[in-house]
Point group: C2
Chain length 165, copies 2
DNA sequence: TCTTTACGTCAGTCATGTTGACATATATCG
DNA sequence: CGATATATGTCAACATGACTGACGTAAAGA
């Protein structure tokens, strides 16, 4: 009779491996958000503001609908945060040229500066982790993370074609 | 004069790579938490309850201080959530034997069942991602994720010694 | 013209975090 | 033993960011 918790048991191995994955994700996310949160607090902003600034900076000219689809929150929730950022001069809205109901979003210069300041820490964290882990590990990381994301959103991360490298 | 945004430019490549990392983490976390959140809502609970149940299940007999250190929230915040879970019979507290000020936390049978139900989806998501990515990718994933976590918490994820595999 | 879509707004609620102050029991140290 | 520190709990007030539901406007599309 073998102990269920002995590492020799393959079922326990698998369970342990999966739980480690869950915990890696929890701790990484916790630490990854802590630094920007501290900066945001100085502006009286929260994590939601960072997300909006980040994705608008990444996709200049995106619509409100696009943003809602990415964040998966209600328009009422977005409205408060986005409204503040527009009022305080971090983001501009201009009507779409082809569909004038749309409000195309863009960072102002001030917004770009805040985005840079906030995301800088996170980029640095990734740069260090990538450097320490090596190129092969990065490719593995990418594969696993993609597998964790709902299939519908995976096309956001295209394969690197022949134009790359 | 070359276009700054041409994929040939190595600085842009790096920037793109880092931003993809940031986004992978955002989307993975967003999708990873969505399923348990839906189950929790049926109980009138939130994500905070899941975190408490998860870590108590993972570390039976852990103290309140241990839990606070993991979650990085205030004791007042924890108190509400933990109090509910104790009151409603998901978690038991018993005084420590060596230090009787401590309240050692454990899941009840009911708590174990809820934990299983909640985490099952997340384990399944990891199992699928690991399976599709392959063993080598999983090792890379582990390496990168560890690099993203504050050094102080990395010892929570020990290397696999000779007793493993 | 009628309907649908994109976006906005007002109002109320809930979950989860915060700070600050204070209380109790137990452990530890001089 | 007495003083101090630690582990835990509690009350109160507040902020953030999510939610639902209802309603409104302008523009696009059938």
């Amino acid at each position: 009779m073998t102990d269920v918790k002995t590492p020799i048991n393959p079922l326990f191995l698998r369970e342990e491996e999966l739980r480690q994955g869950i915990e890696l994700l929890f701790f990484a996310y916790r630490d990854f958000t802590a630094e920007p949160d501290a900066i945001l607090a100085e502006y009286g902003y929260g994590r939601a503001h960072h997300r909006v600034i980040y994705f608008v900076g990444r996709n200049p000219g995106m619509t409100v609908s696009d943003l809602l689809a990415i964040l998966r929150i209600t328009k009422q929730s977005l409205s408060r945060v986005l409204g503040q950022l527009v009022d305080e001069g971090f983001i501009t809205q201009r009507p779409g040229t082809v569909d004038r109901r749309q409000r195309l979003l863009e960072l102002t210069e001030k917004g770009t500066e805040l985005e840079r300041q906030l995301t800088e820490r996170q980029r640095a964290r990734f740069a260090a982790a990538y450097r320490d882990a090596g190129a092969e590990a990065v490719e593995g990381f990418r594969k696993v993370m993609l597998g964790l994301i709902d299939e519908a959103d995976r096309p956001r991360f295209p394969q690197r074609g022949p134009g790359w490298r």
